[in-house]
């Protein structure tokens, strides 16, 4: 069985400051980490691998200027990783789906595609369902846990206040919510070897030319960035006055609005 895990990178929010008054973002420390939800998806895949001896192949969710997160994924326990090489190629989800579909085809197909349900920065969750549409597979979104039982994938999803188990026949696409599982740490020896390019693990990182997979005319993103917008600064120190009963009602309304919005 082959499991594809699609993962991306994100600028660690601990290293950036956003000055809303100046309308600017200051990057104090440029450090990228694997998207938290994607890292949970990798952990879910590795647990299935532990149980069923599946092969776990890692593919990127977007253009990467370096292969750092793929090396990390290999050190964590993935069997293979593919780095798409092309200078300055731009891609949104629609382009990546074409590329990933071609890559899965070249790998010889897959039984399960796992990825994060949402990205930490832009909150976009369309890659998983778009993959399901392109491959015409069933999809299970926002899973907390997933396992393979008798040729089907069983996943736990939130349903109102409780949790339900759902099942889809393989092949299928499953997206995992951030924080669903506690991801394992990279293995020390594997981490050293993958960065020193020694041992079997070095051969596990493959480099594929983008244009071998799809035509150049396919590499046109649909989504265009048209600038940034900063919310107005917060109005702090608003005092409520009156009898405790009255202020409590106003405060309760404010709290409920915040919690539901």
């Amino acid at each position: 069985m082959r499991i594809i895990v699609i993962l991306g990178r994100v600028l660690d929010p601990a290293g950036i400051t956003i000055n809303q008054r100046a309308g600017r973002i200051f990057v104090n420390r440029e450090e990228y980490v694997i998207q938290p939800a994607d890292r949970c998806a990798l952990e879910v895949a590795l647990r299935i691998k532990d149980a069923t001896a599946a092969e776990v192949v890692v593919l990127p969710r977007g253009p990467l200027p370096d292969d750092d997160i793929l090396r990390q994924a290999l050190a964590i326990g993935a069997d293979r990783a593919v780095y798409f090489t092309r200078e300055r190629f731009k891609a949104d989800e629609a382009v990546m789906v074409r590329l990933l579909e071609a890559a899965i085809d070249r790998l010889g197909g897959a039984d399960l595609v796992l990825t994060g349900a949402t990205t930490l920065d832009s909150g976009q969750g369309q890659l998983g369902p778009r993959m399901a549409a392109a491959l015409d597979w069933p999809q299970i979104l926002d899973a907390w846990q997933a396992e393979v039982v008798d040729g089907a994938v069983q996943a736990v999803r939130q349903d109102g206040t409780g949790y339900v188990t759902v099942e889809a026949a393989l092949p299928a696409v499953v997206t995992v919510v951030p924080g669903a599982v506690k991801p394992r740490y990279p293995d020390g020896v594997r981490l050293v070897n993958i960065y020193k390019n020694v041992g079997e693990i070095a051969a596990a990182l493959e480099r594929w030319e983008v244009t071998d997979l799809v035509g150049v005319d396919m590499l046109v993103p649909l989504v265009e960035r048209r600038g940034q917008d900063f919310p107005p600064p917060r109005e702090r120190g608003v005092r409520l006055s009156g009898a405790p009963d009255e202020v409590a009602v106003a405060a309760a309304q404010a709290l409920q609005k915040r919690m539901n919005g």
């Binding site: 789906v97 069933p138 339900v164 917060r234 919690m259 919005g261």
Partner: protein, 341 residues
């Protein structure tokens, strides 16, 4: 909609036919048999977009026993409503809903399609966008229009709303967008608007994902205090700690405190909110009787909303709080518990 508006919409229809656009469509979210507020918000926004584009607004209502909800869609701004009322659609499942919408949109070729950023919208919008080679912008908090290219621009919150990125799909049609619930504001409901919904004749697909039943014994992993979305923290002036615990339970939040609460023996060392202890970034932080020294205030700087209750009007916490209540927590907290129900 006034007669003048109607006249304008009809006059614009001619250019609409030449342009080949198919209107602004809103797919309704139905919760417990009623149309969800996010759908009405989306319809209000669709009305504004359609008026500027010279297009019609259509609502799509899928569910079981939902036909009488159609008038609400007209009142919120729809010019036409398509309904599929079938017991098989009582609960949302991807495959049957997707089949109905992909058949409908293949025929109607919409120009813009809006969904709520809900379970249904997030499952269907990407699949339809992929099938129809359309662009998709998720979680739009505001919508604007680039009239020259007839492109809808959506502002998408980045890092949970620290700032917004304005995205657009100028080339792709249809343009799919999911809108963030509560962000666009409720529209005016015109009680004099009404219409005759069109029932669609469809063959429904079988769901491809089966629900096996409740997940027995599944417990979601514990969230560390630093990542908890709601925190109720006690300070020296909190008075009765049991009230703080009840407030946390009522808000579904975690109990914490400052060093004073730790000294009083109410909380453990790992629950102390302080730069020397835990630094937090909750959506809602309620400070009950916390005066707010520098170390505590620095640790809650990233909180998105702070409610402070303290008897001293000069307490430093009030400079940081969004909402301040000067008063004795022993009186305010019981009243707050009652108001929260």
């Amino acid at each position: 909609m006034s007669y003048l508006d109607l006249l304008m919409a009809q006059q614009e229809e001619v250019s609409e036919a030449e342009g080949g656009g198919g209107g602004v469509w809103v797919v309704a979210d139905v919760v417990d048999g009623a149309v969800a507020p996010v759908t009405l918000e989306a319809l209000g926004a669709a009305r504004t977009l359609a008026d500027a584009l010279g297009a019609y607004v259509y609502g799509v209502l899928l569910g079981s026993g939902v036909s009488d909800q159609a008038q609400l869609l007209y009142q919120a701004g729809a010019d036409g409503v398509r309904v599929v009322d079938d017991p098989a659609l009582a609960q949302f499942a991807t495959a049957p809903f997707l089949k109905v919408l992909s058949d409908l949109f293949a025929e109607e070729q919409p120009e813009v399609v809006l969904f709520g950023a809900t379970e249904m919208g997030q499952a269907l919008a990407p699949r339809l966008a992929q099938q129809m080679s359309g662009g998709l912008i998720e979680h739009a908090a505001t919508l604007s229009l680039d009239e020259e290219t007839r492109t809808v621009q959506g502002a998408v919150p980045i890092y949970g709303g620290e700032f917004f990125e304005v995205l657009a799909c100028p080339q792709a049609r249809p343009q799919f967008l999911t809108v963030e619930p509560g962000a666009l504001g409720a529209p005016f409901l015109d009680r004099y608007r009404s219409g005759e919904p069109t029932a669609l004749d469809v063959t429904l697909a079988e769901p491809d994902v089966r629900i096996l039943g409740p997940a027995e014994g599944f417990e979601p992993p514990a969230v560390p205090l630093a990542q908890a979305p709601v925190i109720v923290a006690a300070g020296r002036q909190a008075g009765d700690f049991a009230l703080v615990q009840r407030l946390a339970a009522a808000l579904g939040g975690r109990v914490a405190g400052d060093r004073g609460a730790r000294d009083a023996g109410w909380i453990e060392a790992d629950q102390v909110i302080d730069v020397r202890g835990v630094t937090v970034s909750p959506d809602v932080y309620v400070a009950v009787g916390i005066r707010g020294d520098t170390f505590h205030n620095a640790a809650i700087e990233a909180a998105k909303f702070v409610l402070a209750i303290h008897p001293d009007p000069e307490a430093p916490i009030f400079a940081l709080a969004d909402l301040c209540i000067e008063g004795n927590p022993a009186e305010v907290v019981p009243a707050l518990l009652e108001a929260l129900g």
